[in-house]
Subunit: 243 residues, 2 copies
Amino acid sequence: MRLSHFNMNLVLLENKDFVDHDRVVIQGRRFKHLISVNKVVQNDQLVCGLLNDKTGTGVVTNIWKASLEMAVHLTDPPPEPLPLTLILALPRPKMLKRIIESVTSLGVKKIYLINSWRVEKSFWQTPLLKEDQLRKYMILGLEQSRDTVLPDIYQKRFFTQFVNEELFQISKNTLCITAHPKALSVCPSGVNKEITLAIGPEGGFIDIEVATLEKQGFSPYHIGQRILKVETAVTCLISRLYS
Amino acid sequence: MRLSHFNMNLVLLENKDFVDHDRVVIQGRRFKHLISVNKVVQNDQLVCGLLNDKTGTGVVTNIWKASLEMAVHLTDPPPEPLPLTLILALPRPKMLKRIIESVTSLGVKKIYLINSWRVEKSFWQTPLLKEDQLRKYMILGLEQSRDTVLPDIYQKRFFTQFVNEELFQISKNTLCITAHPKALSVCPSGVNKEITLAIGPEGGFIDIEVATLEKQGFSPYHIGQRILKVETAVTCLISRLYS
């Protein structure tokens, strides 16, 4: 995995990094990034967080050739999650990477990747859909936004079965929205409560899919006359709903 | 330039494409895209628009080996522009491409790329900053969102000079906002009027830059405790301000 050019905003720790109750040793990608991009030196204080746990600080106590040691002090809760469940028609792999990273950085914690008429069959073959691959992009999103809580990503390859049999349970007691460029009503803004948001592929859900979602309580809304790329639309919708 | 995998939502025409007052011949990238991605055939009706002018429809009247002919009928105005002037610290080239494309698709028509303390000097050397290069990404954004009006992009390599001598004129009678993660107030939403929005580089504007902007009437606002990539932040801010 290529190093990002940007400072790591949070060093995401795992239990296996701990060599003592308050002492970690970091190697590999994180070490390389901290040395070559963040340019850390002895005694630097960094923002740290334990995966799915608290955040705090780490002071660099030793730097060796391929690893560094920090004394960590983790006391604070991670940032609030976004109360949004994202139902996303599986995008092209390259776009999927960016979307997973960006929605993770925005605080989304539940993502359902679903099939839809306009999803190319080949997209389901990408190695990216393996758990350890998706995890990489989630981790980049967590590091970016100083969060520690990994999203759950579910893959649902049968649209009708998923919508008719599972979606009711997933979306109950939430505001249910289908993003649909041809909808007659404009998407609400500043909702700031539990939402389940369904977003189609490039070209949108087909009419019968919108109708199937509507039967499960999903109202179709547009966000203006401009057609946006899915990755732009996802960020726009989330920002609008929680502004 | 690689073909996008997605249907061209609008065929953007230029005056030089016209072989008659209502007849165009399309070659090159647009031809290849229409044939291999949109898979157009004789008599298909496509959404068209003339650069910086009206939109309408085109009917495919002839398809040859490397070009196609359409009878066009352009009657409608392009979508409303966004009343936003974007002041953006020059991002890394790869990110700049995506941001130019996405903000163009969102309807931004005035973009100032400016220097800032945390902008790497090398970014100003990228061939991407040549006018014909930036134009490519603007055109992708216009095709995506069915717009025809090219944004104006200005490059300003001296932060203090630009802010102190030019920004007042550019931003007068608009709401002036600096996006700043460390700001104390949260960014307003649903403003829906003329705005001038200044966005820093990865890592943000430095304090003295925020102060220099503030002297010109730019109030610093944050959009939550999460630190976002610039490309995500730009889309979030625009969506929030015009939701």
